[in-house]
């Protein structure tokens, strides 16, 4: 079980990394909009305009 003395601090380091990354993401505005991303995934945005619009 002695490996835990190494693994747990390692886990805490990773945790600290994750918290830092999240803080950076929040600070750079990535979480300012919590509504749109949930629906954006279902939108196709690769539809091409029709070749010859018959206006």
């Amino acid at each position: 079980m002695n490996v835990l003395y190494f693994l747990i601090p390692l886990a805490l380091l990773l945790l600290a990394g994750a918290v830092w990354a999240f803080f950076w993401a929040v600070g750079s505005g990535q979480f300012d909009d919590l509504e749109t991303p949930a629906v954006r995934i279902i939108m196709d945005d690769d539809t091409k305009p029709p070749e010859t619009p018959d206006t």
Partner: protein, 804 residues
């Protein structure tokens, strides 16, 4: 959508006057050239997916404005300075996009914006309807961006930079960081706690136990010092103000458990409570976060007030007419207001004569005529002809500003149903710590070897998770289900109020009625004509009028050739057909001679407004124009009465009109000619008699009334400000969701009561058993989890409410 609804904007299509667009290989019918242009634009840019993705549109949404605004003026330097922050060749602005109603709209806007030349970034928030754009000023101007949005059928309004919601954003960021620290901390510490509990049974090396405790301490410390900081701060403020709030017991519990655990760790004591600390902080932080988001939504709506007013005005000065941003307007300026424009500031008419629609301010549907010397109010709409105003008050000094301040005050003055769950949970945590300490001391004296296990069991078994979850879980489920039923809850307290309401009051116009006039009855007074002819002539005459009543005739055929059309302000319209002068309007205007007799003949059997058609001074027909009732209004109201609610109708309209509507709906209790103060008085009186009052209404003048009621509901099409104050926003055209909402609220309260009873019974039963040492820690842990699970599952029943 029925076949006769416009494919783009969902308004009814006039069968005689329809247009077609081919989209995805199918011929679609649209109602007007504007909708045709927008639909073609959307198709030609390859975005027809919009139509597949969007929700069912509210009729009229996305319909382009009839009169094209001059967007170019926004390209000017002073306009750019007023609405954008620029630097480095790029500029940034926030634009409120009116007419958005679903996620597909935000997709359409973002995708279109991204294709605009010179666009650096465009992000839209579909909830607040705010578009944040950043662009290269050399490639395109603000005017061009606004024009692009307008071409898509939206109603863009640039917002002054300071009105962009910055403080809320910073608050949300801080709250998110706290929530993340609390949740990650909780997960880690719980994991270590499992190890520690397991060690208590199976035995554990003392070194490992000490190590896990120190690790728990290391993770708990940032949770307490960072995530829980708002609780300590608010508790301290409460103490300083000698009004300790519910954050005080929370803080004491967290601090006591944290320092107690630290002491135990240092001295090698028998147990630590780091897991309880982080879990408690996490649940509280989560609760605060959800509450904050609901609060921000209502702030977003209130900043939308400025959107009622125009952004630019035409000022008449010594240097002629200049267009300036409304914010530069000062008292004493003379401004020009064209027909169809809304008035930007309170002022006195100095030139011209017109009729204005003050419905936003007074709720009065009938336009008021104004002549030189009469006051005009900001937010009202100039209907008939060009006028000049001398500005008396601007911005928040206007009547509109005062009304909005009044409703803000009413909103904050209202005694709010505070977060009972939070408070109960925090007191219980303190009680648990006291009980645990007492039990520990007792066992330490009588049987020191069992003191640790018993104290542990007491702490675990009495964890207030079930109690803390009972109310929020039920309310969250109810909020989600209500949204599916098309009722958006902006104030969580409203659910509880709905459940115990005894009286529901409806506003008339735009609430039980659709808010758009229709021709109810045609009475032909001259045998030489028939109904159809009269209608055609009337429709032809009304083509020049901007009066709301004219829209009732718009659906009718009009193929009559007409000359010399003119509008007589406050009286009606006239025109020449086959060399005969026809007039449509008040009886005295259409055919003065017979007005008196006709008034007697057509005694007010119903309330509708009478519009008379006359030719050469003879009356020919009488049209009864009334506001059409919502289809399910009568049905919903009879069901509401069936629930034992007192249903009432209050309106600013005249006695006859209100009586007529009340009769149709089967409402015995109605009040006519009510000013906002009268309406508030009616609510107050009922409240003093111990009643709980729900007010359903729209319109800015209703805002204080809505705020004064125990719970308020506003139809989504109502004025923006009304939604700000409304606890619940009713989306769509039907009133039926109201009924479901009240039933669901009652069910929610039943579930909350069941949950609380269960949690209390469980804790009351488990605590003595644990204190007496009959519950081993593992059983306590299972009991606590099962108890929480039962509460959550019970709450989730609400989310299936009303489903088949």
């Amino acid at each position: 959508m029925s076949a006769s609804a416009c494919f783009h904007c969902a308004l009814p299509v006039d069968p005689r006057d329809q247009y077609h667009v081919e989209i995805d290989g199918q011929q679609r019918t649209v109602c007007c050239p504007g909708c045709k242009a927008v639909a073609e634009l959307i198709r030609d840019t390859g975005m027809s997916n919009y139509y597949a993705m969007r929700d069912a549109p509210q009729p009229g949404a996305g319909r382009p404005a009839d009169d094209a605004t001059e967007w170019q003026i926004y390209d000017r330097e002073d306009m750019l300075a007023a609405f954008a922050e620029s630097g480095d060749g790029t500029a940034e602005a926030t634009i409120y996009v009116g007419g958005m109603y679903c996620a597909a709209c935000s997709w359409l806007i973002e995708t279109t914006m991204a294709r605009v030349t010179g666009m650096v970034s465009a992000d839209i928030n579909p909830v607040t309807h705010r578009l944040r754009v950043s662009w290269n000023i050399d490639d395109i101007g603000l005017g061009g961006i606004l024009a692009t949005l307008a071409n898509l059928g939206y109603d863009p309004q640039p917002l002054a930079p300071e009105s962009a919601a910055r403080p809320e954003l910073l608050e949300q960021r801080a709250a998110l960081k706290r929530l993340l620290v609390a949740s990650l901390g909780m997960m880690q510490v719980m994991m270590f706690a499992v190890g520690l509990y397991a060690g208590d049974f199976q035995g554990m090396e003392p070194n490992m136990q000490l190590f896990l405790r120190w690790v728990s301490f290391a993770v708990t410390t940032p949770v307490v010092l960072y995530a829980a900081r708002p609780f300590f701060r608010s508790a301290w403020r409460g103490v300083m103000a000698r009004a300790p709030g519910m954050d005080l017991p929370v803080s004491i519990a967290v601090a006591a458990a944290y320092f107690g655990s630290t002491y135990m760790t240092i001295t090698g004591g028998q147990t630590t409570w780091f897991d309880s600390v982080v879990m408690f902080v996490f649940f509280l932080t989560l609760g605060r976060f959800l509450e904050m988001r609901a609060r921000h939504r209502s702030i977003d709506r209130s900043t939308a007030l400025s959107n009622v007013l125009p952004n630019t005005v035409t000022r008449c000065g010594e240097d002629g007419q200049t267009t300036i941003p409304s914010s530069q307007l000062v008292a004493g300026d003379v401004v020009l207001v064209r027909p169809g424009e809304s008035i930007a500031a309170d002022g006195i008419l100095v030139d011209g004569e017109t009729a204005v629609d003050e419905a936003l301010l007074t709720g009065e549907a009938t336009p008021k005529s104004k002549s030189i010397g009469d006051p005009a109010l900001a937010g009202s709409i100039n209907l008939d002809s060009m006028i000049q105003l001398r500005v008396e008050a601007t911005g928040s000094d206007t009547t509109l500003g005062t009304i909005s301040r009044m409703s803000e005050r009413a909103r904050y003055a209202r005694p709010t149903y505070v977060q009972i769950a939070d408070r109960i949970a925090s007191y219980i945590v303190v009680a648990i710590l006291i009980v645990a300490a007492a039990v520990g001391t007792f066992w330490y004296i009588t049987a020191p070897d069992r003191a640790f296990v018993v104290t542990l069991s007491v702490l675990v078994v009495t964890c207030p998770c079930a109690l803390a979850l009972a109310t929020p879980a039920a309310f969250a489920a109810a909020g989600t289900r209500l949204a599916q039923l098309r009722l958006l809850v902006t104030n969580g307290n409203a659910i509880e109020v709905l459940a115990r309401s005894t009286r529901i009051l409806f506003d008339k116009t735009g609430t039980v009625t659709r808010g758009t006039p229709v021709i109810e009855e045609i009475e032909v007074l001259d045998d030489k004509f028939d109904e159809k002819q009269c209608l055609r002539i009337a429709a032809a005459l009304e083509t020049v009028s901007t009066h709301p009543i004219a829209s009732a005739f718009r659906a009718s055929e009009n193929d009559v050739t007409i000359h010399d059309q003119s509008v007589a302000v406050g009286n009606g319209v006239s025109g020449t057909i086959d060399n005969q002068v026809w007039r449509l309007g008040r009886a005295s205007f259409a055919g003065a001679a017979r007005a008196a007799t006709v008034a007697a003949e057509a005694a007010p059997t119903n309330s509708a407004t009478g519009v008379y058609l006359g030719v050469e001074g003879r009356l020919v027909a009488r049209f009864s124009i009334s506001d059409e009732l919502r289809e399910d209004a009568a049905d919903t109201i009879s069901h509401l009465a069936g629930l034992g609610l007192q249903v009432g109708l209050i309106s600013g309209d005249g006695e006859a009109a209100v009586q007529h509507t009340a009769g149709k709906l089967g409402i015995a209790d109605y009040h006519a000619n009510c000013s906002p103060e009268d309406k508030l008085e009616i609510i107050r009186t009922a409240q003093q008699n111990g009643e709980t009052v729900i007010m359903v209404g729209d319109g800015i003048n209703d805002a204080p009334v809505l705020a004064g009621a125990d719970a308020s509901i506003a139809p989504a099409h109502g004025a923006l400000l009304a939604q700000t104050n409304a606890d619940i926003v009713l989306v769509g055209d039907a009133l039926q969701p109201l009924l479901l909402g009240i039933l669901l609220a009652k069910q929610t309260i039943r579930v909350v009561k069941q949950n609380l009873s269960w949690a209390i019974v469980y804790n009351a039963a488990a605590l003595p058993l644990a204190a007496l040492g009959y519950v081993p820690p593992w059983a306590a842990a299972i009991g606590m989890s099962a108890s929480s699970l039962i509460v959550v599952l019970n709450a989730l029943r609400i989310s299936r409410f009303g489903a088949p």
